[in-house]
């Protein structure tokens, strides 16, 4: 009987410790391995934030920071690299002032005016910022190129 109790306690401790260790060292979510939950043009997505910021924030942002993963498409209007050396692009609909800024994991080969589709995770929505006097695009990271027409 005593042995049984010790056994059960040992299993609980091991299980608890294991779960604790897993939680502490839980891997980061990678947008690449997650199914896309939306498929829009970059400017359509941005406009949802401009039209109703509260609704769009609650639709696309998650409380724990693992916000929605989805696909956006548009015309490349800016290409560059960030401080890490990773590529980023800004894509928008033709004639639109606002779209999505997508940071990739590594370098990609796209050019201004290319029409591309990109999958990634949303970090923040679009807005018109009165201090910048500019539209700020939807920020997406962990991006990958779906196609390059």
């Amino acid at each position: 009987m005593k042995k049984k109790i010790i056994g059960v306690v040992a299993i609980i401790v091991l299980l608890g410790g294991g779960i604790g260790l897993y939680m502490l060292n839980m891997p980061h979510r990678d947008a690449l391995n997650i199914e896309a939950e939306f498929n829009l043009t970059a400017s359509e997505l941005a406009n949802q934030f401009l039209e109703n910021n509260k609704l769009a924030n609650s639709t696309y942002l998650s409380e724990d920071g693992d916000s929605k993963v989805g696909i956006v498409k548009g015309k490349v209007i800016e290409v560059g690299k960030n401080a890490k050396g990773d590529s980023y692009v800004i894509i928008r609909d033709d004639k639109s002032f606002v779209g999505a800024q997508c940071s990739f994991q590594g370098k990609i080969n796209v050019h201004i005016s290319d029409n591309i589709s990109v999958k990634g995770v949303i970090r923040s929505g679009a807005e018109y910022d009165e201090d910048f006097e500019e539209y700020i695009d939807v920020i997406m990271e962990q991006c990958s190129l779906i196609n390059n027409n």
């Binding site: 891997p27 924030n57 409380e63 916000s67 800024q101 910048f132 695009d137």
Partner: protein, 184 residues
């Protein structure tokens, strides 16, 4: 003819004012907090910044969910409603001015220690801060860097109320290092 002159003058002026504003969408922000328990650090590579070399205005917009931590669990806690509440307040913002603009000569290469003063908004709470930084004018463009401490982050509503907070779990002061390159 006069109209044409006025028009071209307006166009010229607008071009000049355009040239005085510089924007980057990939400024780098690092935050660092040291406690007895552990050191915590995170990086953000998607910060938008704008400097105006005529007025000295300096603006930063930082997407909170863009901070990458080593540990996923730490990142979740950081974004949580008890802490940064990034779902409701997705951006940290700074709107300020370079205090001592007159000493900067933007027409030639050089480096200056500057003082920047303005409003820092975290979780909809705005406080006036004044920090030191460096501005460098070089061939590629303008580069700004700063290392400073945001003091008393709990005063911005970050974290649990003091009665419920575990001591030493999160430092009250957060060290911030930022670099914004406004290259052509």
């Amino acid at each position: 003819m006069k109209k044409l002159k006025t028009l071209s003058l307006i166009m010229l002026l607008s071009m000049v004012s355009f040239a005085q504003s510089h924007i980057t969408k990939t400024a780098h922000v690092n935050i660092f907090s040291s406690t007895i328990a552990e050191d915590i650090t995170a990086n953000n590579y998607t910060t938008m910044a704008k400097v105006n070399t005529e007025t000295g205005s300096l603006i930063f917009s930082v997407p909170v969910q863009g901070f990458e931590f080593d540990k996923a669990l730490m990142q979740k806690h950081f974004n949580n409603s008890n802490f940064m509440n990034s779902k409701q307040f997705p951006k940290i913002k700074f709107v300020g001015n370079i205090v001592d603009m007159s000493k900067i000569d933007f027409s030639q290469n050089g480096s200056y220690t500057i003082s920047v003063s303005g409003e820092l908004t975290i979780r909809d709470v705005t406080k006036l801060i004044t920090e030191e930084g460096t501005i460098t004018i070089k061939d590629e463009g303008i580069s700004t860097t700063s290392v400073f401490t945001v003091k008393g982050i709990f005063d911005y509503g970050v974290g649990k109320p003091s009665s419920k907070r575990k001591a030493n779990n999160v430092a009250e002061d957060i060290k911030v290092s930022l670099q914004a390159d406004f290259y052509k």
